[in-house]
């Protein structure tokens, strides 16, 4: 074995881990608070990456999809208000029908006007090349944030645990799998399932430190993702939101009695988790310039491994775990070949789940299941 490559491999492992970190933290936030494995995380990651790609490549239909997502969530919000309002049932029915009709009209307007090409033409003329970058980032973040609100409703707010039996724990998980299928197939039926490529604005920019080669976008995204996650964990430690979140995680049923507005906090956490995925997705497009409808699945399985390694619900654990998994992956590819990488990662994971389910660092208040 050629050990001279080792420093380079360690750096590569760290870079790879950087992509996983944000996805792992998104998983761990939802698990930590609501105790369910949120499979919309890979979908949102992939959607952000693909939207970023689509806007860079000037696909107007990305804007249509965003419009539809926003529309859906607005309709849900109005519907919720309508339901809570003290109105006689016939008025509510008329309101609901009106809502549906309005949504259809808006959908028809969006699909017939197709603002995409005009927006891109204006953008390229007025702002130049950077315009699409900016628009891509905004659209990806906004779409994912809005979808997170929709997902929150269907995986948390509308769920009614009636008996607290064993398979009821699975309802949010199944629901999130439904979203995963919807989002993946929306992308597939729009752009197909093949690899989609674009060009990086950074080109092949890189620099060397001694024997080690650093690629500029990779280094940037590693720093950015660590900074975001660090900021987040500080926020969770110090702010009122963080305190509320931790109290929900530890005692979901008594938190409301302590004045924690669960109904307000949960959507915020979904949006935070969604934005983490979206940022990771955007960085993925910038780094690797090639995306497809299935990138979420591959990244998410590894991120899940990282999360388990660090202990479910433990933000710092997820960071360290994801970095470690990135290292294990790169090292096992480097030492024994790509096909072998699954065994060390998943073997380690299985071992940890059985021997030490709280993860490497212990300390977690959740995941005890019943009793």
């Amino acid at each position: 074995m050629d050990l001279s490559q080792l420093p380079q491999q360690i750096v590569n492992g760290l870079m790879l881990g950087g992509v996983y970190v944000m996805v792992a933290v998104a998983f761990t936030l939802i698990i930590g608070m609501l105790n369910f494995l949120n499979f919309t995380v890979p979908a949102l990651f992939m959607l952000a990456a693909v939207l970023m790609w689509a806007i860079l490549e000037g696909h107007g239909i990305a804007l249509d999809l965003t419009a539809i997502a926003v529309l859906l969530v607005l309709a849900m919000m109005v519907a919720d208000r309508l339901q809570q309002a003290r109105l006689p049932p016939p008025v509510k029915t008329v309101g609901a029908l009106g809502l549906v009709a309005g949504a259809c009209v808006f959908l028809w307007l969006t699909l017939s006007f197709r603002p995409g090409p005009a927006v891109f033409a204006w953008l390229d003329g007025a702002v130049g090349a950077g315009g699409r970058w900016f628009l891509g980032i905004v659209v990806a973040l906004a779409t994912v944030a809005v979808l997170s609100l929709l997902i929150e409703r269907f995986t948390y707010r509308y769920m009614k645990a009636k008996y607290g039996d064993a398979t009821e724990h699975a309802l949010p998980l199944v629901s999130s799998l439904g979203f995963l299928i919807v989002i993946e197939h929306t992308v597939i039926s729009t752009w197909g399932s093949d690899a989609l490529t674009t060009e990086s604005p950074f080109g092949n920019a890189s620099f060397e430190v001694g024997p080690v080669l650093f690629s500029v976008p990779q280094l940037l995204s590693l720093i950015l993702s660590l900074a975001i996650v660090f900021g987040l964990s500080v926020m969770l430690k110090t702010t009122k939101l963080g305190r509320a979140l931790r109290s929900i995680a530890e005692r979901p049923d008594t938190a409301p009695l302590m004045g924690v507005e669960v109904g307000r906090i949960v959507p915020v956490v979904y949006v935070i988790a969604g934005l983490l995925c979206a940022t990771a997705g955007i960085l993925f497009t910038i780094n690797y310039t090639t995306v497809d409808a299935y990138i979420g699945d591959t990244v998410a399985t590894v991120a899940i491994a990282g999360m388990v390694l660090g202990g479910l619900g433990n933000v710092w654990g997820a960071i360290v775990g994801a970095m470690l998994i990135g290292m294990v992956e790169v090292m096992s590819i480097y030492m024994v070949g790509a096909t072998f990488k699954k065994i060390p990662i998943w073997g380690l994971l299985l071992l940890i789940l059985i021997v030490r389910p709280t993860g490497l660092f212990g300390h977690t208040a959740i995941g005890k299941g019943k009793f």
Binding site: F154, K160, H169, S175, A305, V308, K341, K342, I343, L353
Partner: protein, 297 residues
């Protein structure tokens, strides 16, 4: 039978067998996201035994025994985990199996592995019917009652004398044997297997069939697997016949949306025990819905 119908029937049969393999543990409250792992073990072990000279009729039961032995061994550590941990542990198990097989040269590694003996629908369909009957029988027994009690309330089941660990291990092991059977039949029908076919998506879909069909009665997995095999295929046919390609493209979007809506409006699955009870006694059943059953004593 036409080639198309036969191929669809085979897919349906395999999905039904897989679904019962996941249903047995699910009925006793365990979520198994490792279907792909057991299916892989079944498919490869049967193919390998077959290749070593044994006929298919020996290779398939042998592979089931082998898979059951593995499941029995890992059941004890895995069943110590609960809820989301069990989902993750079974998921990890399936990944380890895939990772191992892809590195085993004598099983063809990444290139896939050819299977000698062929099993046509005259083998697959009767076996599927036997599996369905077996599961119906099992769920109607006291063991089935014990499994359903564990699903609802483990602690109380224990206090009434149910050996919770035994029932759970039995359900998990038997389920693994069924999935192994399904995998073996898959291999012998298509005469070629590769690990990529049995991926995490397969595990996810099988778990979905079961949870959407309902875990309370043995009808659940049958209805779930049939519904979610037939409906997307029917939509594809409609799309081809009517020339609206968008129906075929977006059928999985509908599929996903149905899943999301079902979890809100019918979280216990398509088939519930109440439904089956009432259907079984059309005249005596359904007496004024939730009316109290108390005679004034």
């Amino acid at each position: 039978m036409s080639g198309y119908l036969e191929s669809q029937l085979i897919i349906l049969c395999l999905n039904v067998i897989y679904a019962y393999g996941i249903f047995l543990p699910a009925a006793s409250g365990q979520l198994n996201l490792g279907a792909a792992g057991f299916i892989t073990i079944g498919a490869y072990s049967s193919a390998w035994i077959n290749a070593s000279g044994a006929p298919m009729y020996i290779a398939i039961p042998a592979s089931m025994l082998f898979c059951a032995a593995i499941a029995f061994t890992i059941a004890f550590p895995i069943l110590r985990t609960r809820g989301v941990y069990m989902v993750l542990a079974t998921f990890a198990f399936a990944e380890v199996v895939a990772g191992l097989i892809i590195n085993l040269e004598f099983l063809g590694a990444a290139a896939g592995y050819p299977v000698e003996s062929h099993a046509d629908y005259l083998v697959v369909v009767p076996v599927t019917i036997l599996v369905v009957l077996l599961c119906f029988f099992l769920m109607s027994t006291r063991l089935g009652l014990a499994m359903r009690s564990i699903h609802d309330d483990e602690a109380v089941a224990t206090l009434f004398g149910v050996d919770v660990r035994l029932a759970k291990v039995a359900a998990f092991t038997l389920g693994a044997a069924l999935m192994s059977l399904g995998g073996a039949l898959y291999g012998h029908h298509y005469n070629y297997i590769e690990t990529q076919t049995f991926n995490v998506l397969l595990s996810i879909y099988i778990l979905l069939y079961v949870l959407l069909g309902g875990t309370q009665t043995a009808w659940g997995p049958l209805v779930g697997a049939a519904f979610f095999t037939v409906v997307p295929e029917a939509l594809r046919q409609i799309a081809t016949a009517s020339g609206h390609a968008w129906i075929a493209d977006s059928r999985f979007i509908f599929f996903g949306a149905i899943i999301v809506l079902m979890m809100v409006f019918r979280p216990e699955g398509l088939v519930t025990r109440t439904m089956v009870d009432r259907a079984a006694t059309p005249f005596g059943g359904g007496r004024s819905g939730a009316a109290p059953a108390a005679r004034t004593a």
